[in-house]
Symmetry: none
Subunit: 218 residues, 4 copies
């Protein structure tokens, strides 16, 4: 979304108005990525036509090949770049010292605002849908996203168990259980929203309540 190198500096030229060549090129690259994300989300890898991507991006078909080696490279670029920015956020939660409920609520907020309410929800569906056909994508996400998030969660959950905030030790063993409802909401709404929309925030809050059910009122 912003120029990457900006070597020149002075003159403005080209049709873009005030941008120099490098900035224009970067802007084109971003436009292609954005358009491709929309098209891949709507149709999956195979059903997406680069013609449509180009039209949506406002560039010529050949221009795509100036920025990406081929259709698959474009696809992988998108799929890889969308989720990784969130990983750091989630990993950082490991380092703050607040009650688990607070962390859980932050995770929910992050998930709703950065995934469910953005194109990232489609990325998740794309990974599920195309992963088996693109082993590299599955491998990348396991290595760069899933395993790192799971590791961080394990630390957090372990600490919560030790503090007595969570009674279920199994949760620390299977941090996947923490995210299962989040995955569910993404998939449910992608398929069934028109029939019966699912209020993600409510579902995820209910999920936290279940996990945190204290031995309170004895």
């Amino acid at each position: 979304m912003s120029g990457k190198l900006r070597k020149s500096g002075t003159a403005s030229a080209g049709r873009g108005g005030g941008k120099d060549r490098a900035a224009q090129s970067a802007a084109r690259r971003e436009a292609i990525l954005k358009a491709a994300l929309a098209e891949f989300s709507a149709g999956g890898f195979a059903a997406t036509r680069l013609d449509d991507v180009a039209r949506r991006a406002g560039v010529a078909k050949g221009t795509i090949y100036l920025h990406f080696a081929d259709k698959e490279a474009l696809f992988q670029e998108i799929v890889r770049s969308m989720l990784t920015p969130l990983v750091g956020h989630l990993e950082n939660l490991r380092n703050i010292d607040v009650p688990f409920r607070a962390i859980a609520e932050q995770i929910v907020n992050l998930f709703v605002s950065e995934v469910l309410e953005t194109d990232r929800k489609n990325i998740i569906r794309l990974i599920v849908a195309e992963g088996p056909r693109f082993p590299k994508i599955a491998e990348f996400h396991y290595r760069e996203v899933v395993s790192r998030v799971m590791a961080a969660m394990q630390v957090i959950l372990q600490r919560a168990v030790e503090r007595g905030e969570i009674r279920h030790k199994a949760l620390a063993q299977f941090p996947q259980l923490l995210f299962a409802p989040a995955l569910m909401t993404v998939i449910w709404n992608s398929l069934f929203e028109q029939f019966s929309p699912l209020d993600a925030r409510a579902v995820l809050r209910a999920h936290i309540d279940i996990l945190l059910s204290e031995r309170t009122k004895p």
Copy 2:
């Protein structure tokens, strides 16, 4: 590999063994469905070539069209026929009067043996992957599978809440939470099994334990 040279053998039987024409035709239909399921599972709808389906089924390409109108009809037939048989089983659980834990264990067993350990796990991934592109499929599964199962679960969960087996009333409101971990295991293993296989039975048992966490050992 096909036709032309077969000189048959025992004179009394065609290549089908002891089958008559109708049975052979039905067997071919099944072979096609089986092959198509395998190919669609591996590559999704668009990337699957009917040539490969035919080869895998051991029939000629044209034979597919004797049984199915076109590629999409074949796809829908597969996707529609695989899950519906399970719906009745799940609905029947509503009518038996046993503790919720017993029902939950039956659901886990059913899910593991009839979904995770069969091709049905691929069907679920196919629905997630192709549903947005085939609205009929999403609509069909909402109507014939999901909404019916959700309704049955709601009854069961409601009863469990009333009996005090479950404290979390939210569960009855969001029966999706009951199945979220099951969906998670399907997707996890389809993507990451080679990196870190998930023991579905253990995960689901842990999930039940969490839901049923009694105020017991205080």
Copy 3:
């Protein structure tokens, strides 16, 4: 389905009612020809499917191949057999000694009742349409139909000229001019009948009047 050899000869059997095997076979052959004519007329050679011919004839597709070597043979059989019966009639007109107008009227009547009002009009269109692709058909019709009719007409026209019934010697040189309006009516109505039907009998009568315009009322 039925006994295999049936040497006898007397009894009637089979599904046909009172027909013996040979008669049934012949009836099937006729049914196929009739159905094929209808289908070829509607769609031309290439667009006609033997499936449709078989269905219309009430036989199985394979049965067609018991009577005809292949699709082209069936086509040629139809195209060849339809017009030849008329050739004799036209040739015989050479031998009767009546005024030309009487002969011309007979030709008109024959053409209207045996061509325009029957499937033969479609055969003519088929020959025009497919002739260039089936040189044998063009050759056959030139040899067996057109050249013979033209020869007979030439004799008749020559005699009419000598008798002073027709002043235009060119007619005897180009007997095609005699038939041009007949061909026109066939083609016109096959293409434009729904927009502006042409009264064939009226057109052909007018044509005769023109040819026979005497120097009468001076």
Copy 4:
């Protein structure tokens, strides 16, 4: 024969010689139309393969689809564009004040030089052959060609009758009779030229003589 090895030559020019892209594209379109006309003429609509059209035009198969939506659109474009340019000429004859014989001779000349001696003769056969299968084509030609020409001829013939140049009022009623021999020559030569070529100019002149047979030398 195509692409791949061409290394261009004079550096300044592509393979098209001195043409710019638009001109080259138009030239390709024309080449496709020309090739398609030849192929359709030889085999009719159904029997023509776009592969052959492309090869004859010297383009790739896909190039056809840059210019025409599909096979039928290509066919209709050809069939529609070939005859309409002649309509205006024929209609204009209505406005010139010369003896009918002169007009008739112009029509003959036009027909021979612009139809019989060009590809248009094949178009006429194509319309006859495929018209019933493509109602739009029949409708188009009735509306844009035939009805307009017939109307113009009616005016001309009517005037000739009033002037006493033609005695046969029926001609004005059935202007089709004027063109019947022309149609005949097209069809005759398309089918039988190799057996017995018909001298179109001679036939058509004879036809005019017949129509104009004056009450002269009594």
